[in-house]
């Protein structure tokens, strides 16, 4: 294995991992506060990707302005969709049995995925990269795709932003308080329903952001939602549900692992997330950064 190959695969794996982190951190955050595993998170990400495709074909062209427009418009649009879903459906299943919650979110997967099929059809699509990100950059004498490097840096930016929001703002204090004792938070005068809705919207915003970034990274089709929800689920199991740091670690493990095993193992690389997930569940069922259930 040459050093060039190693660097190339590492950059590729890191960018895959960071994209996965952006999506999985949303899933993890929502679970932390709402205690619902939203399997429709992948579908929301897919809608984000297809929405990005539609808008980009409307404004036609791969200018930086158009790409920024997508980043500015699509994630909030998915957050608004999340708002509608939260107040109309999710709100009804908090504190219900897991089975009911699973039924709701899985039904949403089926409905949303079919809606995507009806609206956008089954053909693979993509969004042109803006020129400034379309070429390659020279790192260690290797020509690496600029866009992958861009995503690789987006991950830490989002991670830092989330950390800052959760640990340095009042909104973050309220979110973290709602994770432990929602009733107590309510008795202190905080409208906890609103904290939950906002957190859900933030999670959906992250899914939408992942969708835009994905649409310019590779071809998007009807399978991307399912693929990412499975990987995201593995990520939160590995890192610990509700932990942002854990989501970062889990995403890097899955991203690098899948990338490195792709060449020698081909399709068998797909079992990698499951194997890691199973090992973590045996050794530390609450994940690297999670806490055992009280």
């Amino acid at each position: 294995m040459s050093i060039e190959y190693f660097v190339f695969m590492t950059i590729n794996g890191l960018s895959q991992g960071m994209l996965l982190f952006i999506i999985a951190s949303g899933l993890s955050l929502v679970f932390g506060v709402l205690r619902v595993i939203n399997f429709a998170h992948g579908s929301l990400y897919m809608i984000g990707a297809f929405l990005a495709f539609s808008i980009s074909s409307l404004v036609s062209g791969g200018s930086l302005f158009n790409f920024l427009l997508l980043l500015l418009v699509v994630p909030p649009a998915i957050a608004i969709l999340g708002f509608i879903l939260e107040i109309s459906l999710f709100r009804r299943v908090y504190r219900q049995e897991h089975l009911l919650q699973l039924l709701l979110t899985y039904a949403l997967v089926l409905i949303l995925d079919d809606l995507v099929r009806i609206v956008w059809g089954g053909n693979p699509r993509n969004v042109p990269r803006p020129e400034i990100l379309a070429g390659s950059v020279d790192i260690f004498g290797l020509a690496l795709p600029t866009y992958n490097v861009f995503i690789m840096f987006m991950g830490p930016v989002i991670a830092l932003g989330l950390w800052w929001l959760l640990h340095r703002t009042r909104a973050g204090n309220l979110i973290r308080a709602a994770v432990t004792f929602p009733d107590t938070l309510g008795a202190l005068g905080v409208n906890v329903s609103w904290v939950m809705t906002s957190t859900f919207m933030l999670g959906c915003w992250l899914a939408g952001l992942g969708g835009v970034l994905m649409a310019a990274l590779a071809n998007i089709d009807l399978g991307i939602g399912m693929e990412k929800i499975i990987e995201s689920f593995a990520v939160v199991v590995i890192g610990g549900l509700g932990s942002i740091g854990g989501a970062l670690l889990g995403s890097l493990i899955i991203g690098l692992g899948v990338t490195f095993f792709q060449l020698p193992l081909g399709r068998w690389a797909l079992v990698f997330p499951y194997v890691i997930m199973a090992l973590v569940l045996i050794w530390r069922p609450w994940g690297f950064f999670g806490k055992p259930e009280r």
Binding site: A177, F181, G186, A187, L188, V190, V192
Partner: protein
């Protein structure tokens, strides 16, 4: 600004916990609700706060019928709640715990004032709330409720599990709150502590109010104290012992 609890009946699922409980607290009073474990003190507090709303009867505060209000609206109307199990947010710093209790602008209780009363909280301001000792956690819970500038504060068994010296600090602070013109409803098992800091007392037993009166009257009433508050009452019959 008066709290009136009028004949409330509260259930946990199918079990009937409170039976026609009535009590009232006037502005500036410190009133204690005395009773043994499981007598219904916490349920009374939770019913007032809207955490386990009563099925019948009413709770009125500042002339508003708050019986079926959600807890956050009751809190915003001016009631602060200090739960029995304290419920400090363990992952949040001490300062963040206080911040969570803040409702908009600081009017009366600020970080500076809280830190003046409890210097330990300032020392530990950037440490996780879970690192505090039991006594420090109790001070933090009270301070967290005060950050919302309540007119009435509900203290559910604040002295429980605290060292005697901490209980004294707590008692002094209750006196401070009274001087500030705050209204306090306290629930206690520690009779001596409760009587030293309150104006009036109610006694609850088996979910019913059995007695109410001024502290001076209760102190003289050995019969009532013995019947409802003595711990040694329930001797286990010898034939029941294994």
């Amino acid at each position: 600004m008066r709290l009136v609890v009028d004949q409330i009946n509260t259930y946990y699922g199918l079990s009937h916990i409170l039976f026609d409980v009535s009590l009232d607290v006037a502005q500036g009073e410190v009133v204690v609700l005395l009773g043994r474990n499981g007598a219904g003190k916490t349920t009374t507090m939770r019913s007032i706060m809207g955490l386990t709303p009563s099925q019948t009867g009413s709770v009125t505060f500042k002339d508003c019928d708050i019986t079926k209000w959600p807890p956050y609206k009751i809190a915003r109307l001016g009631i602060g709640f200090v739960p029995e199990d304290r419920r400090i947010f363990p992952d949040l710093t001490v300062k963040a715990n206080l911040d969570v209790g803040r409702k908009g602008k600081h009017i009366k209780w600020t970080y500076e004032r809280i830190y003046k009363f409890f210097p330990k909280l300032e020392e530990m301001a950037n440490r996780p709330g879970g690192d505090l000792s039991g006594g420090e956690q109790q001070m933090l819970t009270i301070s967290r409720a005060l950050m919302g500038n309540p007119d009435l504060i509900l203290l559910d068994e604040p002295s429980e599990g605290l060292a005697p010296l901490v209980v004294k600090t707590l008692g002094d602070f209750i006196d401070v709150m009274k001087q500030e013109g705050m209204t306090v409803l306290l629930s206690e098992q520690n009779v001596k502590f409760a009587l030293a800091h309150s104006d009036r007392a109610y006694i609850i037993d088996n979910g019913q109010i059995k007695y109410h009166g001024l502290i001076e009257e209760l102190e003289k009433d050995e019969e009532v104290k013995k019947r409802y508050l003595a711990v040694t009452d329930h001797a286990i019959p010898t034939n029941c012992q294994p």
